[in-house]
Symmetry: C2
Subunit: 413 residues, 2 copies
């Protein structure tokens, strides 16, 4: 498409694309937007190197591409503007999460990358919010890298889960790259590698001290709990990873308490999701912290959003046109839009419209003329913001009004 | 765990871990193994740089780690052996897909990376096989990067889908990195960026020539088809992306045929999966090629495998122990195993056992003493192999016998 735009003489046209989600997936009342940091990095660093251009030149589809296009790609920089809602914002279907205004080719090229980057992390942050809601104030740690869709997805899932309110991740790479607190316990292989369970527990305690979390179900959970209790402090917690988590957590709590280990935490894992967690919480299981893997790091019940990236305006030679497709069941609304957030509702209207005092305009400039102007990398501050957003706007039933009409467009022109 | 093993003096113990899938996900009769090339690359290149070690030293969990451990990490190389089934092999639950035999720490460190790398690509290749089965001989192209779990997952999904039999991917990066044929059409934004649809069709045709694929549903599908037909050759195909694909494909086929464009292909997209494809095929829709995005690139109905990585043997000071966990519902079988493939069944038995002539031993050495000895990167050859595997072993009802018993272990010792 880039080569085609170039060949059609459209290098000086300016386009506006909007990234939004058509419909919320099943079991989701809202989205927690995430992935902007990676999107900004990508746009600011996007280049085509010699190796890439040489490959593109071999494609049968590009045999008619004019030589000037290759020079254009070699010098490519993203020089446009990006407007986006801050990471951690609660958003709904039909609301633009990110707007790209740039020369047409520059706006077209990042489509796939932006959809995947923002779509994926938003999927995970939104799932994390659901799981945290089920945990009702108890801690949740992201444990899913081994089931994530590539190790890279695992790292970003750790980031997205923390951003939405998890206390940390088991993914050390996510800790290093994004400052997410890392949690961990030993695996069963740790226990199995020693001649007996007590020796395995002792050796872990020597390393981890007050951070020790003992996995006690390798052979027999209650026997394991007694062995851990006999060793005593230092001990942060024990982990249950099989069996009836309700019964076992109660029995283990008793064993720990009777040994004077009241402050020692019980962590539960084992294919948990919001349903099993809600049930354990409701039944009063004495579990302090849930480790959630597969269901969180893949958003197992709804692993994708219907996120799309649609052309809404195009300007050539000083003339602006509004663009919308009319495809059956997949219509889009023309014109660059803004989301106006009122206390009780959101209104999606043209970006050029005004709103009264106290009404938030959610899309804000983050890249201007190709330069990042907002670069919030303090993930703890984003987490605080996300928690407030979920508390304020994550209740079911919030209204979203679409107020884009052709007459409004005509008036704004 | 690595620091703990080091501290416990277990640097000279040798471990064997097996990677296998506990249960097949819903709607899957078999797995198509994929991801080995990336696993081998990772193991051969695995290092810890200064920046990473400095970060690890800051972790509260590692404050007791002895200084020697950091020197160990700085010099870390994977020096062990890997046995694996070739990519494209059809496998079942409970069968080891990959075996790691290495010094304990070296075998433990890659656990998460291997699970994620092989698990994810195997998920996608297995889903692709299902979709291809539904397509019953018609072509399928992978179109899902925008919904994949990161752009990196999108690239690897393109690879895995091709490996299992798709004709290509829309992901140009997967084409460059892995030699997968790339397919593409314009998006609706291409059409919308021009003053009228005919002009958009003409300009695309000028670029793509005989590779031209016109997206005809932006405004009105049948009107679009007539405009494309009026332009005539060169034209490879048209794409339908909305509406009733059965009716539209029939009507569009008529329009094309009446214009002498019988060789022009009809491609269909729009949230397709194996169910919708099977239905279109069964009803005789004249669709030549299916573009499948979200459902393929995320394996939407079953986005993860219960893949695990379990310690089965450990050897210290010349004494070998067999390891197995007894956790409720999550037992493992001890001893390094081999999968023996008979024409009618697979037998999972100890690696040290023998089998008669003509029985395949599926796990083969791919890394020996840290050096890759098999490096099949010809993805077309892997695809041919996978297609034969699916034809030969992908029928429902194949038996897998587990013949590992403690007596066999004792005998093998």
């Amino acid at each position: 498409m880039a080569a085609g735009y170039w060949m059609a003489g459209k290098t000086h046209e300016t386009a506006t694309f909007e990234l939004f989600v058509r419909r919320l997936p099943p079991n989701r009342d809202y989205l927690v937007v995430c992935g902007l940091e990676q999107a900004i990095e990508y746009l600011c660093e996007l280049r085509f190197d010699r190796h890439e251009i040489d490959y593109l030149k071999t494609l049968p589809q590009l045999q008619n591409a004019p030589g000037g296009f290759w020079d254009y790609l070699a010098a490519f920089r993203f020089t446009g503007d990006i407007f986006a809602v801050p990471e951690g914002t609660v958003m709904f279907a039909g609301e633009p999460l990110l707007t790209v205004r740039a020369p047409l080719i520059e706006a077209q090229i990042p489509e796939t990358y932006l959809l995947s980057t923002i779509g994926f992390q938003t999927v995970i942050a939104s799932k994390a919010a659901r799981i945290l809601n089920a945990a009702a104030g108890r801690d949740v740690v992201e444990f899913g890298c081994r089931r994530a869709h590539t190790p890279e997805a695992g790292c970003l899932a750790g980031r997205a889960a923390f951003l939405a309110g998890c206390v940390g991740t088991s993914n050390v790479a996510a800790g290093m790259r994004f400052g997410v607190p890392v949690f961990g316990t030993s695996a069963h292989s740790w226990i199995l590698s020693f001649d007996n369970e007590t020796l395995a527990f002792e050796k872990l305690q020597q390393l981890l001290g007050e951070r020790t979390v003992q996995l006690i179900d390798t052979y027999d959970t209650l026997a394991g709990a007694r062995r851990v209790a006999a060793l005593g402090q230092p001990l942060w917690g024990i982990r249950l990873d099989s069996g009836d988590l309700l019964d076992l957590s109660r029995e283990v709590r008793l064993i720990l308490d009777e040994s004077g280990l009241k402050s020692v935490k019980i962590m539960a894992t084992n294919d948990l999701d919001e349903t099993t967690i809600a049930s354990l919480v409701e039944q009063g299981a004495p579990i302090d912290i849930f480790g959630v893997g597969t269901s969180l790091a893949t958003s197992y019940d709804a692993p994708a959003l219907s996120a799309v990236y649609k052309l809404v305006e195009i300007e050539a030679n000083g003339i602006r046109r509004y663009a919308a497709k009319h495809s059956s069941g997949k219509r889009t609304l023309p014109g660059a839009k803004q989301v106006f957030r009122y206390p009780d509702r959101d209104v999606v209207a043209l970006a050029s419209e005004t709103a009264g005092p106290g009404v938030e305009r959610l899309l804000r400039p983050v890249i201007v003329n190709g330069e990042a102007i907002v670069d919030e990398k303090n993930i703890r501050r984003i987490q605080s913001y996300a928690r407030r957003q979920i508390a304020d706007y994550g209740r079911p039933g919030r209204r979203v009004e679409l107020s884009v009409s052709l007459s409004a467009l005509a008036a704004s022109h």
